[in-house]
């Protein structure tokens, strides 16, 4: 177990290192000189040179890479090019929106998708099953940003129940903030609920076919006990894996959904930084997100290994 853990952690770390190189290389070739962007249409050659030096862009790339890396290890992310203020608090501020959004969306997906999947497996081949399968097909096919737009059309412009966008801030208006996250959470969570319901269903049906379940049945255990007592517990293993993967997708989905509802989250920060050509923010946010996804995958792997003690070859 310890060896497995070490191996997993090491590969995650190596992956992260490769990611830093990849991000650095891609952003180094970004057309557009941050100094030029800062000075805009009034850029003069000598101004440009001064600003470049101020940002450290006159140093060789390899040196800049290592300066960045050593800063990362100390959580010193440097100053934003555009705002001239430290980046770490900027990102922290945005995570206050994105993390609750992603967590609530995953919770929503679990609360909706899991029971539906169980229901479908329970009622396999009956109307309930078809209903759930239809829901899941639709849920997978509908893009989350369009679903968000439809929610705005129906529930905020139509019924006036929720704000069409924006975020008042947790400190200023807690309940208002929560209210403004309702539609984004649904938009982000429902397609995932659809996927989850499918996976729960098929994974439960798989377990139901296994020998020990048949034995339990043969011994006369009631259908419900078999379903919830045995099948669900064992079906949870692949479900946990998928929920882990969801967090990774949430990050991508959050970028799009934040832009539908204008939520000041990490996605919008990336978007604004692209507009400001604030490479240093993009660089760090991307790496932090990657580290987050890797960490979650690592945890999922560990949970998986704990739930399923059979020795596994790394898939």
């Amino acid at each position: 177990m310890i060896q497995f853990l070490l191996r997993r952690t090491l590969t995650a770390f190596v992956t992260l290192m490769i990611a830093t190189v990849a991000v650095f290389v891609v952003l180094e070739v970004l057309p557009g000189d941050p100094a030029l962007v800062m000075l805009g249409m009034q850029a003069e050659p000598d101004n440009l040179k001064a600003v470049r030096a101020e940002l450290g862009f006159d140093r060789p790339p390899v040196e800049r890479y290592f300066v960045w890396l050593s800063g990362l290890t100390r959580f010193e992310l440097g100053n934003s090019y555009a705002y001239k203020t430290p980046i770490a608090p900027l990102i922290a501020q945005r995570l206050q929106v994105t993390l609750p959004l992603a967590l609530m969306a995953v919770l929503f997906a679990i609360c909706v998708g899991l029971p539906l999947g169980v229901l479908a497996a329970w009622r396999q081949g009956k109307a309930g099953d078809y209903g759930v399968m239809m829901f899941s097909q639709l849920g997978i096919a509908i893009p989350n940003f369009w679903f968000g737009l439809l929610l705005i059309l129906l529930l905020s412009l139509g019924a006036g129940l929720f704000p069409a966008g924006g975020f008042p801030g947790w400190h200023d208006d807690f309940w208002g903030s929560l209210r403004s996250l309702v539609l984004p959470v649904i938009a982000l969570g429902l397609p995932e609920a659809a996927i989850l319901s499918r996976i729960t269903r098929s994974s439960m049906l798989d377990t139901l076919r296994e020998d020990y379940i048949r034995t339990a049945r043969a011994k006369g255990a009631p259908h419900r006990t078999v379903l919830f007592g045995h099948a669900l517990r064992n079906a949870l293993i692949p479900i946990v894996t998928i929920i882990g993967l969801f967090f990774g997708f949430q990050v991508g989905g959050a970028i799009v959904v934040e832009s539908v509802f204008y939520l000041p989250g990490v996605g919008q920060l990336i978007y604004q930084s692209i507009n400001n050509h604030d490479l240093i923010i993009i660089k760090n946010v991307v790496i932090l997100l990657t580290a987050l996804v890797l960490a979650i995958n690592l945890i999922v792997d560990v949970v998986y290994a704990a739930l399923d003690p059979r020795p596994k070859i790394a898939a």
Binding site: P31, F249, I255, V256
Partner: protein, 286 residues
């Protein structure tokens, strides 16, 4: 003779498979619309006519007109073409490279396998939209770059599926027998492994096609895909959002188009899987 009979039997089975039939119908409709848009659309997709702007659905313009008076139906038809091109090319890139890598990893094992697995982990660790945003900011927003970004994301999907399926093949007796009579790994891969995993690749490709259409719509919605004035479904939805108070129907139809296209491909994929081999394990990533 038996082959023909088998085909007939298969076709009859397929004809009774509801998802397959619906999926195939929707997919053919999508492709048909795209092909039709090559030769005919009711109106020009780029010509502006301000007198007609923001009209609702009518006999002349079935789905209404946009903020510059352009026919929405014509633009959705053109958008179908765009979606199909993106899907084909992105899945093509992902499949060619991914299948090659997956087959190689499965036949060689060892460090090559490890390296390929770790690289695909790396791509998965980046959320797909983030990869696309990085690529399009670095090299500019264009249809081509969006396709490349989606294609890159498809590589590890195919690599993993291929590797898994191929590994299972390599442990089978008939391949061991082929090895024993001195066939090289390359020959075995092409003669035995690839044909035997083709069905899962076809199913996976159908699913990835749907995923690619969704991803492209998302990127275009963010303004990172096809450039104006040429229409794409995602961009149309973006334009529609600021017109939502004036003409809400604009925000409906392109979304319906995306949903129908993706639904069709997914149903087709599921149907194909059931018909080819119900035990196939596909990935649903995006």
């Amino acid at each position: 003779m038996t082959a023909i009979a088998a085909t007939f039997a298969w076709a009859r089975r397929a004809g009774h498979h509801v998802s397959f039939v619906i999926g195939l119908t929707l997919t053919l409709f999508l492709i048909g619309t795209a092909l039709l848009s090559l030769v005919w659309t009711p109106y020009s997709v780029t010509e502006v006519s301000m007198a007609l702007k923001l009209k609702g659905p009518s006999a002349a313009h079935w789905l209404g007109t946009d903020h510059l008076g352009r026919d929405v139906l014509s633009r959705i038809m053109y958008g179908a073409r765009n979606s199909i091109v993106v899907g084909f090319v992105a899945v093509g890139i992902g499949m060619t490279l991914g299948v090659a890598l997956g087959l190689y990893a499965a036949s060689r094992r060892g460090w090559a396998d490890e390296l390929i697995s770790r690289l695909s982990d790396l791509v998965f660790a980046f959320p797909a939209v983030l990869t696309a945003i990085l690529i399009t900011t670095a090299f500019g927003a264009s249809a081509t770059n969006a396709i490349i970004a989606i294609g890159i994301f498809n590589i590890p999907v195919f690599a993993r599926v291929t590797r898994g399926a191929a590994l299972a093949m390599w442990s089978r007796d008939f391949i061991r027998a082929a090895l024993a009579i001195g066939k090289g790994p390359l020959r075995i891969t092409f003669d035995h492994v690839l044909p035997n995993i083709a069905s899962i690749l076809i199913v996976q490709a159908t699913i990835q096609f749907a995923v690619a259409i969704l991803a492209e719509a998302g990127l275009s919605y963010l303004g990172l895909g096809v450039q104006p004035p040429l229409p794409s479904w995602g961009r149309m939805l973006n334009d529609a959002q600021s017109m939502i108070y004036l003409q809400p129907t604009l925000a409906v139809f392109p979304g319906v188009a995306i949903a129908l296209a993706v639904l069709g491909l997914n149903l087709l994929g599921d149907g194909l899987r059931d018909l080819l081999d119900p035990r196939l394990r596909v990935m649903r990533m995006g």
